[in-house]
């Protein structure tokens, strides 16, 4: 978590981010990092905006000085070079020290967020994610529920060369799957991630999660989704020819609806369903 006072500083820097999320122009929001629906994604967003504002301030100073020099010290305007201005210990100490302080400030803002990301204790449930060339496999640990999740059929048709179906005709082109990963809102979800063949990376921007899936090794992380909704992402690590075609769709449900969904997917329920439909 980023300390409150840091948020306050960030907020006071420019009024734009203090607007409620809904008030920001939607075009701009689509071109920026999403604020997202987890504490991890919000920390990333806050740091991102803080860094942008720091960079804008430095940029105004540095680019301003460059532009001032280019306008005022032109030979065509009769400027004569001051060939003695080749050294100034005072200036050099200042422009070494100021960036150092800015960096210390940024580091101080960042470290707590980083520690927060790595705190996987006290989780409510665990899912296991496995990357394959070119689909994902999800397992709800201890529930006996698992399935593959691959690119949706309409996207898969439209993405072929000379396809009859055009990408524009497909809802959520390349960001839809045949089976979505359903998760509860409010629970601390721990994930274990690995891969079966090559390295993949599971990235859902609105969850603030990107973690490599490495064959033979298991990575661990967590997130807690605050709002019901559908969140889309993609494999982020080049994994072969269909790297661009193994999306991720997470559907976050209120806890009761999730419990009902999970119960219906348990092996016993599936067996009962099968036997009741001869």
């Amino acid at each position: 978590m980023i300390p409150r006072h840091a948020r306050a500083i960030a907020l006071s820097l420019l009024p734009v981010i203090s607007l409620p999320a809904g008030a920001a122009p939607s075009g701009w929001r689509q071109l920026n990092l999403p604020v997202g629906v987890t504490s991890i994604s919000r920390d990333a967003y806050d740091l991102h905006m803080l860094a942008i504002y720091v960079c804008i301030l430095i940029g105004i100073a540095v680019f301003g000085a460059m532009i001032y020099a280019m306008i005022n010290f032109r030979k065509s305007k009769g400027a004569v070079a001051d060939r003695t201005l080749t050294h100034s210990t005072k200036a050099e100490v200042i422009w070494t020290a100021i960036p150092a302080f800015i960096l210390i400030f940024l580091a101080w803002q960042t470290v707590p967020a980083l520690i927060h990301i790595e705190d996987t204790r006290d989780s409510d449930m665990t899912i296991r994610i496995t990357g394959y060339q070119w689909k994902w496999h999800y397992e709800y640990m201890g529930e006996g529920v698992s399935f593959y999740s691959a690119l949706g059929e309409r996207s898969n048709t439209a993405r072929q060369r000379n396809a009859a179906l055009r990408p524009a005709e497909v809802d959520h082109y390349l960001l839809e799957v045949d089976e979505v990963l359903v998760l509860p809102v409010g629970a601390k979800i721990r994930y274990l991630i690995s891969a079966n063949d090559v390295i993949h990376a599971w990235w859902v921007p609105e969850l603030g999660i990107k973690r490599d899936a490495i064959p033979g090794f298991i990575n661990e992380g967590w997130f807690r989704i605050d709002q019901p909704g559908t969140y889309r992402g993609q494999c982020a690590e080049l994994c072969g020819k269909d790297h661009g075609f193994m999306p991720i769709v997470v559907e976050a449900l209120p806890p009761e609806e999730f419990a009902a969904w999970l119960a219906a997917r348990r092996p016993a329920a599936q067996a009962a369903l099968a036997s009741s439909q001869p």
């Binding site: 689509q30 032109r74 070079a81 070494t96 960096l103 940024l106 960042t110 990408p167 064959p215």
Partner: protein
């Protein structure tokens, strides 16, 4: 000073094949680099063409991945590194008052490895299974799925590495031993300094890359398991070794750029470089830091918290010496007498746009935010800003700056300015929107994308085509000078030029500094 040509060069192809003359070899490097610019550029055009619209119109995903991989390898190892080696060959002896490089035959050898290595690399496209498609980072296990091309890729990386190491040895020996007697180390021009430090970096990290790809090779053909979990290895080990090479490699590309900019800005400000010694120390600090920050390329692999903290904080430190450089260049212009010929225009664009790329670099050092940026187009935007309007603009600035000295003819200033403005505008049209599609969630290295990225991708492609076409003006401008078209250049060429290279005639005679010159 003697401009005798008592044993002038042989003529025809033999001159170029057997030459041991630093100027000839410098020219060979630069011409080779220019050719590779258009080879790598053509690949970029194919990439931008496919990304112009959603859906797949022109190439298959397999071929697209080969294009991204080879575009990077060709541009890094075939274009920008040889370009700076060419500058070093031409300018280091002229700047330190040496008659030639210290090891001329080695010099010939290190150049002539290059065309064969590059040819082998590009020829992999025509092999069964196609060229390498794993990205230039060659991560296993994916790279082990390469077809027949695999051993050829490894071998060409070895050859390119050998060429770089030999060139680096030559440059170090030359700088250490061949300086005119009254040039102590701290009196050396900054271009020479940056190359000296770069050469040490090359010798430090190129063997590491060679080791990494050799381990890939034995994993593939001799049953080792360095990077295969099934045999007790670790795929992430490769990433550590690769980036131990890969991060210093970034500075191997950018330090000579700093050197060129540090020559050009004083000339067109008519004022000595501000803080010469602190520039040297900043360069050395950057080189040192570049060797201890490699895993900031790997914040999503699942490193321990302590490792992430260390690599985050050490990475942030690089901003300090880099900042010193930017401020010193600005201070060099301060109270100067500025004029804006083409080399200066490119140098100023470098100053602005490299700094801009540095800003996104600082953002990426912040691990929790970098987890979002990693492997997205935001990263693509960042490294293209530091490599294209950064390193490549510095190289172009250097060509315009020294071309009159090399050929004896001034380039066409109007053509140069048109080339500059087209390049400076289109490079931003191409790469600036990449920040936004990246933040909005577009991963890198994908041949097709979701519809919300369509408009900006079309825009970027048009920018990319414009940038590609603009470089034909550069080619034309250079060829004109090489063919002797254009005004005769004076010895000093630029009013504010300082340094030994401007004391010799233009074009620089085949042999210079038979006796050590006096530094004024």
């Amino acid at each position: 000073m003697s401009d005798t040509t008592h044993h002038g060069p042989p003529t025809g192809i033999r001159r170029w094949l057997f030459t041991t003359n630093h100027k000839d070899i410098g020219t060979l490097y630069l011409v080779f680099s220019l050719v590779m610019l258009f080879v790598g550029g053509a690949m970029a055009m194919i990439i931008r063409l496919e990304l112009f619209q959603p859906g797949l119109q022109f190439v298959n995903p397999e071929f697209f991945n080969q294009m991204t991989t080879l575009h990077a390898l060709v541009m890094v190892f075939g274009m920008i590194m040889p370009a700076f080696a060419g500058f070093a060959n031409w300018m280091v002896p002229l700047m330190i008052g040496a008659p030639d490089m210290a090891l001329p035959r080695l010099n010939n050898f290190s150049f002539w490895i290059l065309p064969f290595a590059a040819l082998m690399l590009v020829s992999t496209l025509f092999m069964p299974g196609g060229g390498p498609a794993s990205g230039w980072t060659l991560y296993p296990p994916l790279v082990l799925q390469t077809g027949d091309a695999f051993p050829f890729v490894i071998f060409s990386v070895h050859l390119l590495g050998i060429s770089s190491i030999l060139a680096a040895i030559n440059i170090i020996v030359t700088i250490m031993n061949m300086r005119t007697p009254d040039m102590p180390l701290l009196k050396m021009p900054l271009f020479v300094w940056t190359w000296l430090i770069t050469a040490y970096l090359l010798i430090l990290v190129m063997p590491v890359l060679a080791g990494a790809v050799t381990m890939l090779f034995t994993d593939q053909f001799f049953g080792t398991s360095f990077f295969q979990a099934a045999g007790g290895g670790d795929p992430v080990l490769f990433q550590h070794i690769f980036w131990f090479f890969g991060h210093p490699e970034v500075y191997i590309i950018i330090l000579p750029s700093f050197g060129i900019i540090s020559q050009i800005i004083p000339t067109f400000s008519r004022k000595p470089l501000f803080g010469h010694d602190s520039m040297v120390y900043a360069t050395a600090s950057i080189a040192f830091l570049s060797c201890i920050v490699w895993a900031h390329h790997m914040f999503t692999v699942g490193m321990p918290l302590a490792g992430q903290l260390y690599f985050m904080l050490s990475t942030m430190l690089i901003a300090i010496p880099t900042g010193v450089k930017i401020f010193n260049w600005t201070a060099t212009m301060w109270r100067g007498s500025l004029s804006f010929e083409t080399p200066m225009l490119f140098a100023i664009a470098f100053l602005f746009l490299f700094t801009f790329g540095g800003f996104s670099g600082v953002m990426m050092a912040l691990t929790p935010a970098d987890i979002q940026y990693h492997d997205s187009y935001f990263i693509v935007a960042h490294f293209h800003y530091v490599l294209v309007p950064g390193a490549m603009f510095a190289a172009i600035a250097g060509v315009y700056y020294w071309l009159p000295k090399w050929t004896g003819h001034m380039y066409d200033e109007r053509l140069g300015k048109i080339h500059f403005w087209l390049s400076a505008i289109s490079v931003n049209l191409t790469f600036f929107p990449q920040h936004f599609v990246g933040l909005a969630g577009m991963p890198r290295r994908i041949p097709d994308y979701a519809l919300q990225f369509a408009d900006l991708n079309a825009f970027m492609s048009i920018g990319g085509f414009l940038f590609g076409l603009s470089q034909l003006l550069f080619l034309w401008g250079v060829v004109r000078c090489m063919r002797g078209i254009g005004d005769k250049a004076t010895d000093r060429v630029w009013e504010g030029a300082q340094g030994l290279e401007w004391e010799v005639p233009s074009p620089a005679p085949y042999h210079t500094f038979d006796t050590p010159p006096v530094v004024k």
